[in-house]
């Protein structure tokens, strides 16, 4: 009886061993399933190519890719953050992309040519419209630490990648000491730290905090997603044009050096930069397209307006994350 039991377990275990069809395009996606799956389904329907997606957080997938090494089954890394793409570039995980891909985006191409931008979002200050008006808010994010009135009412996400991308830009544009002073100044205002933007925006809507340093689409998702009359009193605030507080953040994808299916990976990248995929990002995810000529919904700023908000900056430099992390550790945030 007992050997029968072990045989059963063995059979159950071996049943799982059948491997997937070898020609499938394998995508490691740091973007969540809800945003990725509709696009993957369309790509499969249009090209007839099999696609398999492993979902995870950027960091987990990067760690997995590095542990897998040369044996990784992945073809394409589709990341949620520029920082993760930078880390992948630094770790030599990505291969150079052909011009046919690189020439498609109208802006935000990385100088390395190792990955292609897919969508853009902007850093913003979200605020509670019942507690504050735009006049109460500073013209530059650099002035935020002087806002004594906001003591204890500010939310931020010091451990979240997009916030760290912002600090990297702050450091590179304004200098190390200015960045340190900003972090310490804001800390003195006793902000509330959240692990990511979603719980922070929920806290903003719930009145736990009155302003939040976040990305624009979290706010739109909250306000546009709500039923008529039920939208919480939360709105977007942009700093003055060119302010680092409006930094554009790029999501993107790159082909992995371990890929044995480069052709399919490149077709998928092309698809991501096609008009329909870009329009999906704008209408369903509230992000900005990176190719020109794609219409954006009325509740988004127009592309030129949005682009004018962000400071001039080589986005490839966001991979200089180490110094940012050291700075944040020194001031006790990590």
């Amino acid at each position: 009886m007992k050997s029968g039991f072990f045989a059963l377990v063995l059979v159950l275990l071996l049943a799982g061993c059948e491997s997937s069809p070898p020609q499938a395009l394998v995508i490691y996606s740091g973007r969540s399933q809800a945003l990725v799956e509709p696009l993957v389904e369309r790509f499969k329907a249009q090209t007839g190519l099999p696609v398999e997606v492993r979902f995870g957080r950027d960091a987990e997938l990067l760690a997995a890719l590095q542990e897998e090494g040369a044996q990784s089954p992945a073809d394409l890394f589709w990341a949620n953050t520029t920082g993760a793409l930078g880390a992948a570039s630094n770790a030599n995980l990505l291969v150079a992309l052909p011009d046919s891909i690189l020439e498609k985006p109208a802006s935000f191409q990385p100088s390395s040519g190792l990955w292609a931008p897919a969508t853009v979002r902007f850093r913003v200050l979200a605020y509670n419209t019942e507690a504050l008006t735009e006049d109460d808010l500073p013209a530059s994010v650099l002035d935020l630490p002087q806002m004594e009135t906001l003591r204890g009412r500010i939310g931020w996400t010091p451990t979240y990648s997009s916030f760290q991308d912002f600090v990297t830009a702050l450091r590179l544009l304004e200098g190390e000491e200015a960045a340190r002073a900003w972090l310490e100044g804001l800390q003195a205002l006793e902000p509330k730290a959240y692990p990511s933007n979603t719980p922070m925006i929920q806290a903003l809507a719930a009145g736990e905090i009155d302003v939040a340093l976040t990305n624009h689409y979290y706010v739109l998702r909250l306000t546009q997603g709500a039923a008529e009359g039920e939208a919480p009193p939360v709105a977007l605030y942009h700093f003055a044009p060119g302010d680092v507080g409006n930094l554009a953040l790029v999501t993107g994808a790159g082909v992995l050096a371990t890929s044995d299916n480069t052709e399919a990976a490149l077709r998928f990248l092309s698809f991501l930069l096609s008009e329909q995929a870009q329009a999906f990002a704008a209408t369903e995810v509230y992000e900005y397209p990176v190719v020109s000529g794609v219409a954006v919904p009325s509740y988004l700023l127009s592309m030129p307006e949005a682009l004018a908000l962000s400071p001039q900056f080589d986005f490839e430099r966001l991979r200089e994350l180490d110094a940012t992390l050291n700075l944040m550790r020194e001031v006790g945030l990590l």
Partner: protein
Amino acid sequence: MNRLLSFDLRTAAFFLLPALLVLAGVLVPLAYLLIRAFEADAELLRTLVLRRRNAVLLGNTLLLAAGVLALGTALAFPLAWLTTRTRLRGRRVLAVVGVLPLAVPGYVMAYALLGATGGNGLLAAVAGLTLPRPGGYTGALLALGLTLYPYLFLNLRAALLGLDASVEEAARALGYTNRQVFLRVILPQLRPAFLAGGLLIGLHVLGDFGVVSLMRYETFSYALYLQYAAAFDRVYAAWLALMLLALTGALLVLEARLLRGRRFHRAGAGGTRQARAVSMGGWTVPAYAFAALLSLAAVGLPVGTALFWMMRDAGAAAGWTALAGALGASVTASVPAAVLAGALALPLAYRSVRRPSPAARVLERVAYLGYATPPLAFALAFIFFTLRTAPVLYQTLALLVIAYALHFLAEAIGPVRSALYQASPRLEEAARALGRKPLQAFFTATFPLLRRGLLVSIAFVFLSAMKELPITFLLSPIGFETLALGVWGAANEALFGRAAPYALLIMLFSAAFVGLLLAERDELRAG
């Protein structure tokens, strides 16, 4: 006597195979962490490891573990007592209240607590009630306490059911008051159950990431995850994981010391008798109020919040095929993992209870180290070693099942061990004296007494595997979409309406599974 101790080859294999698997399951992650840890640059390491922040994290972690243990005991003990020792009506329903929260993933509870409170929360929308949003220590304490107390409840309930009333009666005959009987006779016998449940809760708190991050309370495991997530730093993360394991080691030594040299099975012959149930009298109403409040908070809140989300964003839900697929995937991985863990736990617990040698004790403790290894590091280690030793296993269901079983093995050991403590070895000795071979004697004499404990073991692992995230992310076959992944993917993007059906399915099916087990156990009692 010599004949009774001798092992034939099959018996040896029966113990050796699980032992080797367990050792591998623990040594692999440990070796991995050491390999990564020693890649560190000495200077950077000194500033990272020996800094004040780590002392703060240590303090936070211990404070939270102590709080959750206290809250868990305050909830579990009265409930276990009410369901086993009183004539209260609806004891079975109360027992369900004690077990059901196991079906609620901690992160769902945290989302529910946050979603129900505050100005635009569920309670405000439904009842016009604005409660302050829990956060920090209080928030983490509530979410963890409400989801983890069943580990103590089940252990205590099993122990109370297994106690032999004749010992209490003897004490009473000797003139002990009820209070003395409770303090000197009952409580000491509950010690292994307390320790087994408490250890699981403590280890859960040490390893939790979902709840503490949502509640913004910084513990070791939170900091550890941040090193992977924020810094993409596998080296410092490895050091934090090793510090966490050292803490676990201390906890294990403590538990072992508290348990040493005690014997809990009955000494005499004859069957165990159930204790006389007491009537609650004036305490009936408070007892019901306690149970009602607890079930509202631990079960009503997460289920209600999920239903609320689902109705609010009715159009957002994924299709039935996606949901059914995710349910299928979750069950396909969790059931074999639970059975495998039970099969591994049985010989380990048997050795450590019946033939306590240093080796057996170490082996059993080692399983707890595997449990305390942060799941993310555990999964990375399995990637690292699988690809170097058996690449064909990588990204197969088999690997996922093995990883679940080895990671959650510790949960399976406690209930079997408690059952073993209460099963007298005399029966098995008698069976052997009558000429049965050791294994035969074990399966005919002792095994039937362990079924109750073994089923609880399997249930524990099943429930944990259903909720697990990082191991599933990294080790499942590509395209394998479990319910837990569905909840996480959607909730993370604030698509709560889409997350809700996945969360409800996890809770529903876990609850159904637990219900089946409870029914089975009650039948055993009657029969």
